[in-house]
Symmetry: C2
Subunit: 252 residues, 2 copies
């Protein structure tokens, strides 16, 4: 049975989409069957994989089409994508009027779960109904933390929201882990943030740290994961290491 993992943090620009694409791609290269679902109306995960089609996730959530029908393969074998278009920004109003408004993603993707080893939900930078739906559908939550001051501020609110979800709609929700991103060795702030995060969340923070690496921000303009753009760069190595650590943790 596939494991559903929401990648979320309401702070913007912390590396949610970059982690979703490159961790999923690394797992596919390790012969896992992986699916990314783009839950963000910006559609960055979709364009970062070069997949932008109609119908898309909005049509699945509004019941026009089944999830199975809109899945597309990505440039990496073993990695599929259920993409999003800007029309997804209208879904929160529609969800709000549904009887089980937090459960729509969970019920729409139920048929997909047995077909994949891992399903990643890339969330928008907010704690609105789309993210609540993703957290309700997920088995666990992966939280990217940018090594910057503002990125620490929102954590308390995020953990509070996860606790609420556990109490209300998804009692089995666990924390998969915290991943430090955009670490810059020239900047003492990065070391301070790392120390702070490891102090508070020692057992949950991956040892692998993702460095700031311009190649990671160039790859999306070609619609491919880092492994097809520059597989020897530090960005590719760090996401490969993260995938290995992720697999080890999931097994134990």
């Amino acid at each position: 049975m596939g494991r559903v993992i929401a990648i979320t943090n309401q702070k913007g620009g912390v590396g949610k989409t970059t982690t979703a694409i490159n961790l999923a791609a690394a797992l596919a290269l390790f012969k896992k069957n992986v699916l990314i679902i783009d839950c963000d109306p910006q559609g960055n995960a979709s364009s970062g994989l070069g997949v932008r089609v109609n119908p898309s996730f909005y049509d699945v959530l509004t019941g026009k089409v089944s999830a199975l029908e809109v899945i597309k393969s990505s440039p990496i074998e073993g990695l599929d994508c259920l993409c999003s278009q800007p029309d997804l920004s209208g879904i929160e109003v529609e969800l709000a009027s549904m009887p089980k408004k937090e459960h729509q993603i969970k019920s729409c993707i139920a048929t997909l779960v047995p077909k994949y080893d891992y399903i990643f939900l890339d969330c928008p930078p907010s704690l609105g109904l789309l993210t609540i739906n993703a957290l309700t559908a997920a088995d666990s939550v992966l939280i990217p933390i940018q090594c910057e001051y503002y990125a620490l501020e929102g954590l308390a609110q995020l953990l509070k929201t996860i606790k609420l979800i556990k109490q209300r709609t998804n009692p089995l929700l666990k924390i998969e882990g915290f991943v430090l991103t955009m670490f810059d060795r020239r900047n003492s702030l990065s070391f301070q943030i790392e120390k702070e995060v490891r102090r508070h969340f020692e057992n949950y923070t991956y040892k692998t740290i993702i460095p700031r690496n311009v190649r990671l921000s160039e790859a999306p303009s070609y619609g491919i994961p880092i492994f097809l753009y520059d597989e020897k760069c530090k960005g590719a190595q760090s996401y490969r290491n993260l995938a290995l650590e992720f697999l080890k943790k999931v097994r134990s």
Copy 2:
């Protein structure tokens, strides 16, 4: 009469808060009377100015307190802040049930407008009801654009939203300008993005470019704008130049 300017872009982490704080601080140093209103539940503009108090903006929008009562001064003379706490994340549900749900910010800040030269609204990374409210209350919109691939993707959606606001709730809304942020001279992507933005929005894009400068990301951890942290660094110079260009443009 004060000019109300919304700083918005639904892409996360592009420099909205950093621009709000440092442009406003630079204008205050040029002897303007400036107010920042933190419209983001993350409260980054509030903590970036070292101002976190109760009651806050949520209490103003729900009618418990008047805006005038919760304004605090910042570390810079001439710059005030109306701060936010995480409770603001609950406002969108409350706004949705109000009769003029898009106009709540506009009506709550009406008494403030004559008291300031400029009022900046720092928006969250979404196009939800808080941002819609800010765009309805604003005379103009300032749009930070990070020099990265994903940051270009969301522009079409943002401009569409601005057009809708003009048609429905705020016919006088104008575009104040586009500001290129986190420009990195070592990265060819930055030059490509600049070229692209100037090609599409020539007359609206500020000549001043904000470089990537680590001092800008360190200042918030001390709760002060860049001018009190390191006034000679490139970050401070670029925001001072932006303020001069901003004043010139507003006058003409």
